[in-house]
Symmetry: C2
């Protein structure tokens, strides 16, 4: 007897024998379910939701680890539940390992596809001595007649290729039409592709889409090479202000990274960058300006003004983006100097505007943008949370790469942990650091000021106390993996900034924490973290867990929406107009709130 | 007793004593009146027209040299007429020496000035902590309110400068507004300038205009450096077809020449190229395509198709034109592969479309475009007249530079001539060659086949017979200046091509020569020639001289009109739509007509 098991939204499927656990089935299917305790049912990480089918009855362990709301909604622990029928399961992102969460972001769009560029095949009669229309007129007459356009213009770069290509390709080809403008001319059958990019301060995420279907053909991430010139936006702005050459270096770094990403995506999916006819790039205001080569001095000094805030449609070649020579790059609008197009994209894709009740949205990064939707208003701020959550400034911190501890629990017998790729531990990524601080605080090893008390694993060094999480002999690089007092301080600063931002928005709206109906957590880091750890250290308000929704790279998703839908672009513009911005550095409440929010409680 | 004399349209004025000749007065005023016979009243070149004032009575010589129509219209010979009162005189272009004729082209425009770019001063309130609009919004809000615009966009290159400049210039400056687009931002008080360029196969003419007043601030000519890669358009096309690198060389040559011209014009008038916010470039189809970097292979092969024929508005930076970074270059429309935007400009500025009766328009150059307006139709063709009229392929030919014989008469005592700059003769420019052939034909030294008979000045060389126009001891470079049998053959080919074109257009319209009510002769060469010489060799139909009108650089004037007037641009588009093109290489009548037209009769 065997059953078919479907894992959604990954779309993985396999057949398994009766009675084996969901966790085992997931491992066989290549679904990276989180499991810190190794299937003992004690860590509670491997939650899945049953959509269809039957499992073994709820175990006692599950009754302890799952709350009543979860049980009512069909949640189970994968390590406890045994398969008794064909099964359809939903894996929430929080239950996936980091690498696989990224894959989930590839999920398809749910909006109607109404792209700004459409493909149109042309087959023209060749010229004769009697028919001496110009090459453009020949194309125009055909398209105007076929599509009922009132007029047609041909982009200048396309014009430079058109005559030669028409003759090489036997008077046929596929035109990319953006309104009345021909932005590409490719061989017959090459339908227009689109590129969506989330240009982060630290990382880039790119998506290649079929503009006709809206389907994601490939996705990839990359590091922002600007990082060599400063970890956060202020450092980058300061570098750009040193001189023209430095500004150009940053611009070329960002543009080069996007071009590399585009090439990578095309190689993955067997396409050519020239088939990309439209790009959408979102990023914070500094990334936006540096990418475009706009001046940033005024962004770095109070009152921190962007050069421009509305959405921009630029010829990609004007910014040296190597896609179809006539293609455009669309930049979503900016809200303020420190709330950029990425935040607009996040608000767009998470549909906060349509939410009922009071909803908080957070995009956690080197800068964390916070938005509160309540009483018909959208109020946003930005807060400098620093790079600690990306593993920087943490002694054994590292990026979310193989061997990084992404989850951990301190139990009587020692430390249980899960690493990325199940490799021997070599350091801590952001979510691991967060778990470590939360666990130490909950165990009372660390007090609310962040000071470290006594514990068999605490040792004192000349740089202060540190907690040994993994001993050298167990680790992957022959060194202990530790959490230091300094690391805790970094997390206090980061979480304090975020919590201060949240509190000021609540104050602005006249609400208290308890009034929040939902919290949307966006960004790669936000997707990886254990929300209960974040609550434990006071980064998030102490709300029931089901009010939190970790949505992954919502900015990237917003870029994809704007890529395939004119309506979504219009909506983004409307969002940017609606948002009221609060400049925290200029806000009398900030210093007190920040000081209070640094405590670990 | 002294009188004030005004020379129009040059605007020169001086006071002279009673009774001195107009020629002497003109020489004192620096007005370059043509005078081949040295003031003997025999050459009849120094015609002037009296607008106001009194001169000595008509002399017997004048009665012989001027026809009744000229006398009735107030024409006099400057060498014969003596000044008896204050005087206002009009000097027709034909009576001026070449150098000064060019100056006349600087005359002001007569159309209402409605430029596509207008200047607008802005003075903005600086930002505060309470007013954190983006820099663009600050400019937009001001202009939208001041000018009642519905929206405003800022060109991307201007955007890249805006924030820095606003702060450097104390939140003020002059904006160049093209519709709703900001195309320039310069210091307060720098009004937008415009550049008009006639990009000829051999020469360029450039004009710098004040877009507010339409006034010409400076004008200059330059050689087309492409000439190193071929004298005529076919040679250039062939060179460009050799490869990408060659095509780029030609493009860069043309663009570089226009950039040099723009800088030169700005230096002359104490402006900066960045103040030029709009350019209009006209040229034949090959020059147009090579300047823009469009493919030309299809132009060089039957059926000789342009890549594009409609008017183009391109960002100047896209073609590497170094004007205001956000400025546009407008290219007038093209009629066909060999009737280009320069011809449209010529038809525009000469107002042939509005003419009554049958009017012929010629723009004589390496290619000569001919248009006939008759019976409500506009029919045009192009004919390969070659570079002989520019002094090329002529043994002692030269460009119209100092020492070039521009006019000559063969009289009993020898050869009378006028050189450019009154310098000792060193060669013949086009109009001089034309005069020489006409004089020799009229004297019977040359027969209608172009063969040279006997004459004391004819000598036989191993390369054939030649006529000595100036002996070495009289010349400026120690060599004889001669006209050879071969030179006559070049002129036969050139004039034959032009006349064949004229005849085919007449045939197309069902008209005979006698039906032509007016002939407009455009182009530098056309302005310099003696029309009666051109008639004598059969280049033009034998019509009364008053039906001919030599209008100078009409293409350049058309470019100026399109620069300062949106309506003129619209009219140019309408002209291009109306013109019916006849491809001569594809026309059964051409070979016969050409063979017949080569005879000198």
């Amino acid at each position: 007897m065997s059953y078919q098991v479907d894992f959604e939204p990954l779309g993985r499927r396999l057949r398994v024998g009766r009675g084996i656990s969901v966790l085992t089935a997931a491992q066989q299917a290549g679904v990276g379910l989180a499991s810190i305790c190794g299937g003992q049912g004690t860590c509670g990480r491997c939650k899945v939701r049953v959509l269809e089918g039957q499992l073994s009855p709820l175990s006692e362990t599950e009754g302890e680890r799952l709350n009543p709301g979860e049980i009512a909604n069909g949640y189970r622990l994968a390590c406890q539940a045994e398969i008794l029928s064909d099964l359809k399961l939903h894996i929430p992102p929080q239950s996936l390992t980091a690498a696989q969460r990224i894959q989930v972001e590839g999920q398809e769009l749910t909006v109607p596809v109404v792209p700004v560029v459409v493909g149109c095949d042309v087959r023209l009669p060749p010229p004769t001595l009697e028919d001496i229309r110009s090459d453009v007129d020949r194309v125009r007459d055909h398209l105007v007649a076929t599509l009922g356009l009132s007029d047609l213009i041909v982009d200048f770069a396309v014009l430079r290729q058109l005559s030669t290509r028409l003759r090489e390709w036997g008077w046929s080809g596929t035109v990319g039409l953006r309104g009345q403008e021909v932005v590409s001319f490719n061989p017959l059958g090459h339908e227009p592709l689109g590129l969506a990019v989330d240009l982060g301060t630290t990382k880039l995420a790119g998506y290649l889409l079929d503009l006709e279907t809206g389907r994601t053909l490939a996705m990839a991430g990359a590091m922002n090479p600007q990082i060599a010139y400063g970890e956060d936006v202020m450092a980058r702005i300061a570098y750009a202000m040193e001189g023209e050459e430095q500004a150009v270096t940053l611009r070329e770094g960002a543009v080069g990274a996007v071009n590399d990403l585009a090439r990578n995506l095309c190689t993955q999916s067997d396409h050519l960058p020239e088939e990309i006819v439209e790009a959408v790039v979102v990023g914070n205001t500094a990334m936006h300006h540096l990418f475009l080569g706009l001046p940033v001095r005024q962004l770095g000094l109070a009152p921190y003004l962007p050069a421009v805030s509305e959405a921009l449609d630029l010829k990609a070649r004007e910014v040296e983006l190597e896609i179809a020579p006539g293609g455009y790059v669309h930049l979503l609008p900016i809200i303020a100097g420190f709330v950029g197009a990425d935040h607009v994209a996040m608000i767009l894709s998470t549909e906060i505007c349509e939410a009922e009740g009071a909803v908080l949205g957070l995009d956690i990064g080197t800068n964390t943008e916070v938005v509160l939707r309540a009483n018909g208003r959208l109020v946003a701020c930005s807060t400098a949370s620093g790079p600690a959550f990306e593993g920087a400034h943490i002694k054994d911190g590292m990026r979310a790469a193989e061997g990084a501890i992404e989850r951990l629990r301190i139990v009587a017998s020692g430390v249980e942990y899960q690493t990325i790729g199940d490799a021997p531990p070599v350091g801590l990524c952001g979510s691991g650091v967060l778990d470590a601080v939360a666990q130490l605080r909950q165990l009372g090893v660390v007090d609310e000021r962040g000071n470290m008390g006594d514990h068999p694993r605490v040792r004192r060094t000349e740089h202060g106390p540190e907690f040994v999480l993994v001993a050298a002999e167990e680790g992957g690089n022959g060194r202990d993996v530790v959490l230091t007092r300094g690391d805790i301080g970094e997390i206090q600063l980061a979480k304090g900034a975020i919590r201060a931002g949240i509190n000021i928005l609540l104050d602005e709206a006249g609400l208290s924490e308890r009034d929040i109906d939902g919290v949307i957590i966006a960004g790669a880091f936000g997707t990886y973290i254990d929300v209960s750890s974040a609550i434990a250290i006071g980064m998030f308000p102490p709300l029931p867990l089901e009010r939190f929704n970790q949505v992954g790279n919502a900015a990237g998703m917003g870029a994809k929406l704007a890529l395939v839908s004119k309506e979504q672009r219009a909506k983004a513009a409307e969002i940017a107009r609606q948002v009221e911005y609060i400049e925290l550095t200029n806000d009398s409440r900030f210093v007190d709130e920040f000081a209070r929010a640094m405590y670990l409680k």
